[in-house]
């Protein structure tokens, strides 16, 4: 089989090829190694990749299959990992100078689960440093390009994961989403990106940005693939106190079982000024399609949406200021060679190790937690957060899911917003509320701009309602071929 036939196939098809013996995991892995070598000099999605380790994992999968012990749909399938998810023996840098050269001695829980499902951990994918950003331009290692237009950003912070899948360097990848960091780059790169309900997937082994908002989730070509990947990584973990104790449904099987029609909500607040008309039109067309499928479209109100960005940047920065204090140059990571004493190690190592955006957020977070300001900022932001969650839960008394654009615009040019943090923060205006409310959200391709840039539709589900949300996404995807179009990287 020609390797070029493999790298844009969904997991479900690759699994069928492996199952039937038409290809092997080693052949598959070689195809993705070759593809990555061919295109990643331009895409720059990977911080690092360990080909020999990946091929060894592929050989193990083939042996397992030959012995009749194949595990399931992910056995032998490469999955890329954002460089904030720990893989034992592999670098873990968060795209920061602070962790240059750091090798994780342990596996994250999602890594262990992927390995147990037979998947091949493939490469370390670029991101905005410590997952802080919306364009992956805040990476200290490289600037990732959007495979649809390499002069544009892939979104962020999981830009490397989105770009790798879009460019055919991996059939699926894991990212993390704190304010939109899976869904927004998925939208900008034209792939499926799913952020699970807070607590659905263990955070153990995920470098923390904002602990109460972070969730790991999959990037994939199809909704069905996202369902397969989510099923592999979801579930309670005794190593993460915030992970939820409940059964994990068979998401893939549920896709076929749940056929609608659904009641779907549209929130006026998500179609306000700042929304690019082309994006708006594509999302309206998607909504019209749901209507055609027999779904009832209802207006819902999410009145506290306007406070979401402000509350988010207080809570997220407060938590990150504390989470990132462990990077101090004492036990591991960058230590300034110029440091003379303990205090100097802190000051110089952190000054040299962290980039500007990370520093900005640490300073902001330190400020909002300061004695005398805590009540006015952090406590108030937590109250806003409660109101935002209540808005959603009120709406879910009437509807099964809410449809919004994922991002107000398609991919923007590199450097365009780099000098204006506020403009950059508004890239996540439609995704942040979902994190504050702890809800699941998925972005699926719903069209292209005239300039052939992908557009994403966001479907926001009920708490732990991933199965329904995936089914709703699947109903749209079945009738469209956006995901069978691929960027031209020749």
């Amino acid at each position: 089989m020609m390797s070029s036939e493999l790298f844009f196939k969904p997991i479900t098809e690759l699994a069928a090829l492996l199952e039937s013996g038409k290809t092997s995991s080693v052949e598959l892995m070689r195809a993705f190694v070759g593809r990555t070598q061919a295109v990643d000099r331009r895409v720059q999605a990977f911080n690092s990749c360990d080909e020999s380790d990946a091929l060894a994992q592929a050989r193990a999968s083939d042996l397992r299959r030959a012995a009749g012990g194949a595990i399931g749909p992910l056995d032998g399938i490469p999955v890329g990992l954002k460089d904030v998810i720990a893989v034992a023996g592999q670098p873990l840098t968060a795209s920061s100078r602070m962790l240059a050269g750091f090798v994780s001695p342990y596996d994250a829980t999602v890594t262990r689960k992927l390995k147990e499902a037979g998947a091949i951990c493939w490469g370390r994918l670029n991101l905005d440093e410590f997952a802080m950003g919306s364009s992956t331009e805040n990476s200290a290692t490289r600037t990732t390009g959007n495979p649809w237009d390499l002069d544009r950003v892939p979104g962020g912070s999981s830009g490397g994961s989105a770009a790798a899948v879009a460019a055919g360097e991996a059939p699926a990848a894991l990212g993390s989403d704190t304010g939109g960091s899976i869904r927004q780059p998925a939208a900008l790169c034209g792939v499926v990106g799913l952020k699970p309900t807070y607590g659905r997937v263990s955070r153990y082994g995920l470098i923390a940005f904002a602990s109460s908002l972070d969730q790991i989730g999959p990037f994939a070509r199809t909704v069905e693939d996202a369902a397969v990947a989510l099923g592999a990584i979801a579930g309670h973990d005794p190593l993460d106190s915030t992970s939820f104790r409940s059964e994990v449904p068979d998401y893939r099987a549920e896709l076929a079982r749940r056929r609608g029609p659904w009641k779907l909500g549209i929130a006026r607040e998500y179609f306000a000024e700042g929304l690019d008309p082309e994006v708006g039109a594509a999302v309206e067309a998607a909504i019209a399609h749901y209507r055609k499928l027999g779904c009832e479209i209802r207006e819902v109100s999410l009145p506290h949406t306007k406070y979401a960005v402000a509350a988010y940047y207080i809570i997220a920065t407060a938590e990150c200021s504390s989470n990132l204090s462990r990077y101090d140059g004492i036990r591991y990571g960058h230590r300034s060679p110029a440091a003379a004493d303990a205090l100097d190690i802190y000051f110089k190592s952190r000054a040299e190790g962290f980039g500007a955006e990370v520093k900005r957020r640490i300073i902001l977070g330190t400020y909002v937690l300061s004695s005398g300001y805590y009540d006015a900022y952090y406590l108030r932001a937590q109250k806003v957060r409660t109101l935002i969650r209540r808005d959603f839960l009120d709406a879910y008394r009437e509807v099964d899911a809410i449809l919004t654009p994922t991002s107000p615009t398609a991919a923007f040019k590199k450097g365009e917003r780099a000098a204006d943090p506020l403009a950059m923060y508004l890239s996540d205006i439609y995704t942040i509320g979902v994190n504050l409310a702890g809800l699941p959200g998925i972005s699926i391709p719903c069209g292209f701009t005239r300039g052939k840039l992908p557009i994403g539709l966001q479907i926001i589900g009920k708490p732990f309602g991933e199965a329904e949300m995936l089914a709703i996404a699947h109903a749209y995807e079945r009738d469209h071929d956006w995901n069978r179009q691929h960027p031209d990287l020749r």
């Binding site: 904030v84 998810i85 720990a86 873990l92 968060a94 962790l99 750091f102 994780s104 001695p105 342990y106 994250a108 955070r203 153990y204 082994g205 995920l206 470098i207 923390a208 904002a210 602990s211 109460s212 005794p238 190593l239 993460d240 106190s241 915030t242 407060a318 938590e319 200021s321 504390s322 204090s325 462990r326 990077y327 101090d328 004492i330 036990r331 591991y332 303990a342 802190y346 330190t366 937690l369 300061s370 004695s371 805590y374 952090y378």
Partner: protein, 482 residues
């Protein structure tokens, strides 16, 4: 002018658990450096804490034993500060909702009243909260090394109200607190291993005044005696400053127990802003009534309650209870022996005097003693019945310590049983009376002590095995018949 001291203590106690506060790695002392670590302890990227419920059990137990109100929810906060012994550069602690509120430590005051179990005082507590210990810095000329073995050990902070008035009261407070913790199995409180550490807030004010003076915090008081000495020194220092017309500066001072000198570490201006906020990695844990009831059922009787009971129910004097009670194992040993013998006072004397002396001499802990409560009880009964005499009993005791045999067997084998054959005794007594008519006459003449003249020869005839009481009775009976 007369000054009075106002003292509050902040005591850190390592909670006895198998594993650390927020990870599964073992807690142990004296292991090779940095062997008791894991990703959580070392705060590696991505590691997350998970609460050790056994540690919470222990603090709830401490709280119940000290009469605290137990919070319905155990909530965790982060205390942010940078220091190389703190791997995360924040400590997981409890800020605005400590797990235990109020409560008290009962202390014993010096003076005669304590002999009657009077002279006790309840020192109120502000709070007890649970947190994690930090690592240990070892400074040397070549640089500083960090051992993270201790990092993450469950630690509770017990804060008293400023209700202590002297260095001796502070000493009594720590002694009592330590005993309660050991009783409950909450901590071993070994200060040499850093399992109990104490900071003291000390101020002085004119006697009778209600206002509080400026407080000085004393740190690194690493033995209970140093606490007493350090506080006494600080009270003298402050009094001298005030009497010279100076003012006390709010500061933290380091007291060196070896030299008896204290020096300033930092002043108030360098106080930290810890930026406390709820730890988003840890969900609050509900401590419901069933949980508390389960722990309450595990709580032992408090030491002073036990001491009062021994005093009032058994009539055991303070000199003995003060030896038996502080050691829970020893007091259990005693109660068992008291129950088996039916003679608590005699059992208490044997245990507090002979047993402890012999164990101490041989360097054997009570748990390894071959003499167990049934041995003591049997010995007391043999003595009581007159079957053996005091001198023989001591011999029996030594033999029991050696062999672990029950006293009856030893008495028989070594021929230590007292003479109880009354016909034989009558014969010896008659012979004694017959040999000394003068003393018989003296006795008859009203000189009661003349009876003693016969006892020596009776004892000689009995080879020391006659019961003196029985000898006395027999002589009086026979004299009466004459």
């Amino acid at each position: 002018m007369n000054y009075e001291a106002v003292i509050g203590l902040e005591v850190h106690v390592q909670v006895k658990t198998r594993s650390k506060m927020f990870s599964r790695t073992a807690v142990s002392y004296g292991q090779p450096e940095n062997t008791l670590t894991d990703p959580v302890v070392l705060a590696l990227p991505g590691a997350l804490p998970v609460m050790n419920r056994a540690a919470l059990d222990q603090v709830v137990k401490a709280g119940i034993m000290l009469g605290c109100e137990i919070a319905p929810v155990c909530k965790w906060d982060r205390k942010n500060y940078f220091y190389p012994d703190s791997p995360k550069n924040y400590q997981i602690s409890q800020y605005d909702q400590p797990i235990c509120l109020g409560g008290f430590v009962e202390i014993e005051l010096p003076g005669a009243a304590r002999n009657l179990m009077g002279g006790h005082r309840k020192i109120p507590l502000t709070r007890i909260h649970l947190e994690e210990d930090v690592g240990k810095l070892n400074h040397s000329a070549g640089g500083s090394l960090i051992d993270f073995n201790r990092a993450g050990t469950p630690l509770m902070e017990i804060v008293s109200e400023p209700e202590l008035r002297s260095a001796d009261e502070a000493f009594a407070y720590l002694t009592a607190l330590k005993t309660v913790m050991i009783y409950g199995g909450v901590s071993d409180c070994d200060m040499e291993k850093g399992q109990l550490r104490c900071d003291a807030n000390v101020s002085i004010r004119p006697a009778g005044s209600a206002a509080l003076g400026t407080k000085v915090e004393l740190k690194n008081l690493n033995s209970i005696s140093f606490v007493r000495a350090g506080i006494a020194h600080e009270i003298r220092r402050q009094t001298a400053v005030v009497e010279r017309g100076g003012t006390i500066v709010q500061e933290t001072r380091d007291y060196d127990g070896q030299t008896g000198v204290s020096q300033s570490l930092r002043s108030k201006e360098m106080a930290h802003d810890y930026r406390y906020f709820p730890d988003p990695d840890l969900m609050p844990v509900r401590v419901d009534e069933a949980w508390k009831a389960r722990i309450r059922a595990e709580c032992p009787e408090l030491p002073f309650d036990k001491q009062r009971r021994f005093f009032s129910d058994y009539g055991i004097p303070y000199t003995i209870t003060s030896v038996l009670v502080p050691d829970r194992g020893l007091s259990d040993f005693f109660e068992e022996a008291a129950r088996l013998s039916g003679r608590p006072q005699a059992a208490g004397n044997w245990i507090a005097n002979d047993l402890l002396r012999e164990l101490g001499r041989a360097g054997i802990p009570l748990a390894d003693s071959k003499v167990r409560p049934p041995h003591v009880a049997a010995l007391v009964k043999l003595l009581d019945s007159g079957a053996i005499l005091g001198a023989a009993a001591r011999e029996v005791f030594s033999a029991m310590m050696e062999t672990g045999e029950l006293p009856g067997a030893i008495v028989d084998r070594q021929g230590l049983r007292a003479q109880t054959n009354t016909a034989e005794l009558d014969e010896w007594c008659r012979a004694a009376l017959a040999s000394d008519p003068r003393s018989v006459a003296d006795f008859k003449g009203g000189k009661d002590s003349a009876i003693n003249a016969f006892k020596g020869s009776v004892m000689r005839a009995a080879k020391g095995k006659a019961n003196p009481k029985l000898v006395d009775e027999t002589l009086r009976r026979l004299l009466g018949e004459m």
